[in-house]
Amino acid sequence: MESPLVTNVLFSIGPVPITETVAATWCMIAALALAAILTSRALKLAPSRTQAVLEAFVGALDDQIRDTMRVAPAPYAPLLGTIFIFIFVANWSSLIPGVDPPTAHIETDAALALIVFLAVIHFGVRARGIGGYLKTFAEPSFVMIPLNIIETFTRIFSLIVRLFGNVMSGVFIIGIVLSLAGLLVPIPLMALELLTGAVQAYIFTVLAMVFIGGAVSDGRSADRQKEKKS
């Protein structure tokens, strides 16, 4: 049995080895970019069928951000929408025969979580200034500073492990069942894996929203003050 923690090197550019995961990710990025260009090239006031679907998606995303973060969605929608679409397509890319989902390897998940980590700092500093952002670590009191600092890292780590564990375990179980039982048996498991992939993409995005929302809006501290008073 091949270890899920190892990636195969496909070819290398100079001294840099390119793994299968990276190549699959590049293909996906190219396909998504092409699709985005093609669908948004001719936007009209009276929407065509494709445009209506896209508008519904963008509207749902904006509503979700407004509900979760309680701020205007415009600065955050591009990043969060891209994260959702990328993870969704990556999880469902196991439908194409021979393609391993890139999110089933821990490097891709680590890169995505690193983007969220940097985005939290970026949006937090932009909304409150450096001093204001650092002051959020001392909430509700300065005793919590070490815990808050540890939390910033552990929640990103759990973001990595959650996505990796879910997608990889699905791929792994399908592989095991296929080798034990035969050709058509793992199809229900694959259907379950599609559901898991969609839910995990949603959860990763919502958690990124919650983390960024906690850094930019005063919602969290206001809640805490309310709890203190009551």
Binding site: V161, N166, S169, V199, I203
Partner: protein
């Protein structure tokens, strides 16, 4: 197969099996509470199920940690060279 490998496989199986019990019970309680809430207040079903999904993902993480530890023990064991 030497002793370390046998113990590693045993430890991986124990980690996953024991690590699945807690999250399973916790998810059962969470879903039961959410069902109760939706039955009382069907108009809040959207918010409740959204919060439920995020909460379930959080609970599930503990089981996933156990799975990752089991995989580390099986495939990246520092004591087997």
């Amino acid at each position: 197969m030497n002793l370390i490998e046998i113990i590693s496989i045993f430890a991986a199986a124990m980690a996953v099996s024991i690590g699945a019990v807690g999250p399973a019970l916790a998810e059962g309680r969470a879903v039961a509470a959410a069902m109760d809430a939706i039955a009382r207040q069907p108009e809040a079903a959207g918010t409740i199920s959204r919060t439920l999904f995020v909460g379930l993902a959080m609970i599930e993480t503990t089981a996933i940690y156990c799975l990752v530890i089991a995989l580390l023990v099986l495939f990246a064991n520092p004591f087997i060279h």
